[in-house]
Symmetry: C2
Subunit: 338 residues, 2 copies
Amino acid sequence: MPHALPATHRQILYAARPEGTPTPDCFRLVTVPLQAPAEGEVLVRNELLSVDPYIRMRMEAKDSYAPVMAIGDVMVGRTVGQVVDSRADGLAAGDWVVGRLGWQDYSLAKPAELQKVDVARAPASAYLGALGSTGITAWVGLMHFGRPQPGETVLVSAASGAVGSVVGQLAKRQGCRAVGIAGGAAKCELVRQAYGFDDCVDYKRPDFAEALARALPSGADIYFDNVGGPILDAVLPLLNNFARVPLCGLVSQYNAAEPYGVRNLREIFNRRVTLRGFVLSDHKDLWPQAEAELLQAHAQGQLHYRETIAEGLENAPQAFIDMLAGRNVGKQLVRLRA
Amino acid sequence: MPHALPATHRQILYAARPEGTPTPDCFRLVTVPLQAPAEGEVLVRNELLSVDPYIRMRMEAKDSYAPVMAIGDVMVGRTVGQVVDSRADGLAAGDWVVGRLGWQDYSLAKPAELQKVDVARAPASAYLGALGSTGITAWVGLMHFGRPQPGETVLVSAASGAVGSVVGQLAKRQGCRAVGIAGGAAKCELVRQAYGFDDCVDYKRPDFAEALARALPSGADIYFDNVGGPILDAVLPLLNNFARVPLCGLVSQYNAAEPYGVRNLREIFNRRVTLRGFVLSDHKDLWPQAEAELLQAHAQGQLHYRETIAEGLENAPQAFIDMLAGRNVGKQLVRLRA
């Protein structure tokens, strides 16, 4: 045992459905007794929590691709942490694991719900980001649905974000031109300098559509879309024939009271575009290949990432709200132990 | 020679760009000298002309998937007709052929631009419709992009139209449930009775969305979309996970001054839908298989179609305008010889 276990621990519960942007009173911090693992379970002390856009969809009144949370549930989210007590085969105290363990200091889980990770190969936090579900999302969307060919142009929205930044770096490894879209000059600079995209366009520019067209002299063959909405509308006329649009999320729409109406769908017909929504959990068969290639890119120094880390479970709601507003740089994490 | 050739013949030219719905002054009827075929050409007397929604797109100011027409061009369109003079190998006077021969009484063409058809097997008009590019469009969209499985539900917009009616009949042959969307009770009755769809919903009903949901108790696995716009918006929430949406056209949008904004694209992500624009000319490799299966369905009495035939080339513009407004039943054709 690395340390004595406390009698209680903290959780953040889903307290109220948001109207538009979530507010702090959508969440409630509670202290509850710490349970010991039953036979076949382990107890994990969560080190870092990942707060991601999909969680906003789980706060809706209506099911999306995943069921919504009920009021009073522990907020959903992936964590990386260390096993502190094991009554299960295959996992021992001291092992580092990743899982959907929720917004809480400690979690009980079965080994099948956890993935063991090697913190000697990369920092624990990377297994929630570029080497974890974030990076695998980028890989599945780009490689499986985008099918990039050398010389093609790959356009990515939310390019400074955790998924988008990996998409661009994987595109470069495939011999593609990578162009990002991000909000503000500082994020665009990061996309070019830290992640090595060939270009990045600030969607807050008044002449965004013209600037985007200039950044795409040969059009776009793949548009990896994280945002939907008006940016998708601006991109559609710049797609090449037979372009592929993996649709990874619609972060611009999650907080919108009225969804934006996309006007340029005619281009999907004219240019024979394939628009494909995808969700990582449908593609578990691809995970081993994705993980192996991401670890290889990391080992070769070709996978850079940034993290914004909030300190303390009590600050997770604000970190989540800030992430939805785009105030984070790279992957938004929360360190749970104060 | 079946008859003496005249010295002149008639053409309809593209005279003016439409603003919204085309009007008669967008077209001009002219009489021009009839040319004899050069070496390697044949002269075709056009019997029937097909007027189709795609022609409206060729009248735009901006290229779509195909280049726009220039003012003064002969209007584009497919015809079926008879060779009346041949200076080319492989085709003789009396042969029936189909080609993109335009809105005119006679056309010069090379054999490579023509397809010989067998009027003993089916009426000449069918080779412009259910056994021609119309039927092949239905086949490619449904079979190649839709990939129907027995027991699935196939939803089709413009179901009483030339393409839509074939889609439903092919879906039934695949063991699917076929549900149509059409405008008005009479068209819906035709879709059910003449084409054998399991159900058809009138989009002009005030309770269209509710009626559509009732007609799709198990959702829709394929939505073959001919219309886009608000009907697409109504369908998106009724799609099943992993639904396929072959986008064959956006007839609701061709005459629209302002394109409709589609608000429910979030469902493409939630339900992992594939939306795919397609154009028949990209898929010539599939035509022989499609033609063979359509001829087989016809021979088995499983391919029914209707035609609306306008009389006289001079009435082609009005027939085209009426077709865009949905006033035709089945395939809209024009018989060129008065």
